[in-house]
């Protein structure tokens, strides 16, 4: 069955379904579509673009190694120091009792229904050291 379907499709595609071969079979399919000038202009454009980009690459390479990466490292140092200080502060918060914990306003820790993960009370990025849901 499949064999006859394949044969039939081949005949239909190759011969327009009429059992004969197209008279254009051996003709150049692109004969009216060639544009030598446009082709040359395209190649020239690409070559110019590639040539121009050599200098641009060198410039951005310098910016990468002498500006971007050093600036990331130079910013990371003080930020790391500050974050380590915050870690000490968090250590302090961890040992506070519920009475010493700052006042919770009505709009904080809103729970209308249980979350569908964990114990149903903790948010996805919950951190017991600094997040506390004190039931009044």
């Amino acid at each position: 069955m499949f064999r006859s379907i394949v044969q039939r499709s081949f005949q239909r595609n190759a011969s327009h379904g009429h059992g004969h071969v197209s008279k254009y079979l051996k003709e150049d399919p692109f004969k009216n579509m060639r544009n030598k000038k446009a082709g040359e202009a395209y190649i020239k454009d690409m070559e110019e673009k590639a040539h121009h980009s050599i200098g641009v690459t060198a410039m951005w390479k310098k910016i990468t190694y002498f500006v971007a990466i050093p600036v990331v490292i130079l910013t990371a140092i003080p930020v790391t120091k500050i974050e380590l200080d915050h870690a000490k502060h968090r250590e302090h918060l961890k040992h506070l009792s519920d009475e010493e914990w700052p006042v919770q306003y009505d709009y904080q820790n809103i729970r209308n229904k249980k979350f569908f993960w964990g114990d149903g009370d903790k948010t996805l990025f919950w951190n017991s050291d600094i997040n506390r849901n004190i039931e009044a």
Binding site: N13, A14, S15, S22, Y24, L25, K26, E27, P29, F30, M33, M46, K49, A50, H51, S53, I54, V56, T57, W60, K61, I63, T64, V67, A68, I69, V71, V72, T75, A76, V79, I82, E83, H86, R90, P102, V103, Q104, Y105, D106, Y107, Q108, N109, I110, R111, K113, K114, F115, F116, W117, T123, L124, F125, W126, N127, I130, N131
Partner: protein, 265 residues
């Protein structure tokens, strides 16, 4: 053999199961998240299952596209133009989606309600300082813009070493950004449930974070494709759209940094 020669520059795609799979798994994902979060369904297995199916289908769909572009030569100039236009439309829709979240943030913050004590950030909420981790994240994103530009220009003039370096640095910087955002969330003194501040802050930065994960995946694929000699100096459409995506997400982050972290804290 005229009957077998294509006399137009377009790519007539063959039958593919991936649009079908993607539609169904996205619909199932939306349903299972909605039904779970409103307690109509008590099993989040289907959320994970559908996320897995989406990632699996994306992998296979992109595999097909890599074959069509690199190995079958279906990506002619006309096809690339069409895909680029499609990606521009996608990016515009993304920007509009972020615009709605910025609108929500500014709506809540420019005129804070009575219930929030008429101040922003609301009383009792300790915001994240703009000059700490978010500053490092901003610098990382600006640096990723620089490294990807180096990679792009090196790719155009066939400089393999610098192209590979540029894409690898960019990938690493974006992965670093996602990890630092994870730390920031983990150590945020407020949560998603802390009223308008928590909702608007986490929906803005969270949506951006999910996009950054997608960008990291795209950059990993780009780096692999450079390594695998898939890209030529004239044909590297996936690289171009990834760079466009990176710059758009950088810009959105800069607005987020200025509005949500700097002005809003």
């Amino acid at each position: 053999m005229r009957g077998f020669i294509q006399t137009h520059p377009f790519h007539l795609v063959g039958p593919s199961p991936w649009p079908f799979f993607t539609s169904f798994s996205l619909m199932n994902l939306a349903f299972s998240i909605a039904l779970n979060s409103h307690n109509y369904m008590n099993n989040n297995f289907f959320i994970f299952l559908n996320i897995f199916i989406i990632l699996y289908v994306l992998t296979l769909w992109f595999k097909d596209m890599l074959a069509e572009s690199s190995y079958l030569g279906d990506h002619t100039l006309a096809v690339k133009k069409g895909i680029t236009q499609g990606f521009y439309l996608f990016v515009v829709s993304e920007i509009l989606m972020f615009a709605s979240l910025f609108w929500a943030y500014l709506h809540s913050s420019l005129n804070p309600t009575m219930e929030l004590g008429m101040q922003w950030p609301p009383a009792g909420i300790e915001p994240i300082s703009a000059d700490e981790l978010p500053l490092l994240n901003t610098i990382i994103l600006l640096a990723s813009g620089v490294t990807v530009t180096m990679g792009h220009h090196a790719l155009i003039n066939g400089n393999r070493a610098d192209t590979l370096n540029g894409f690898m640095y960019t990938t690493m910087l974006i992965i670093l950004f996602v990890m630092l955002q994870g730390l920031e969330y983990k150590y945020a003194p407020f949560t998603l449930t802390d009223g308008a501040y928590g909702s608007t802050f986490f929906s803005l930065t969270g949506l951006h974070g999910i996009h950054m994960m997608m960008l990291a995946m795209m950059l990993l694929v780009c780096t692999y494709r450079v390594y695998n000699y898939d890209f030529t100096n004239q044909s590297h459409l996936f690289g171009e759209v990834t760079m466009l995506y990176l710059h758009v997400l950088d810009m959105l982050w800069l607005f987020m940094y200025m509005i949500a972290y700097w002005w809003g804290s």
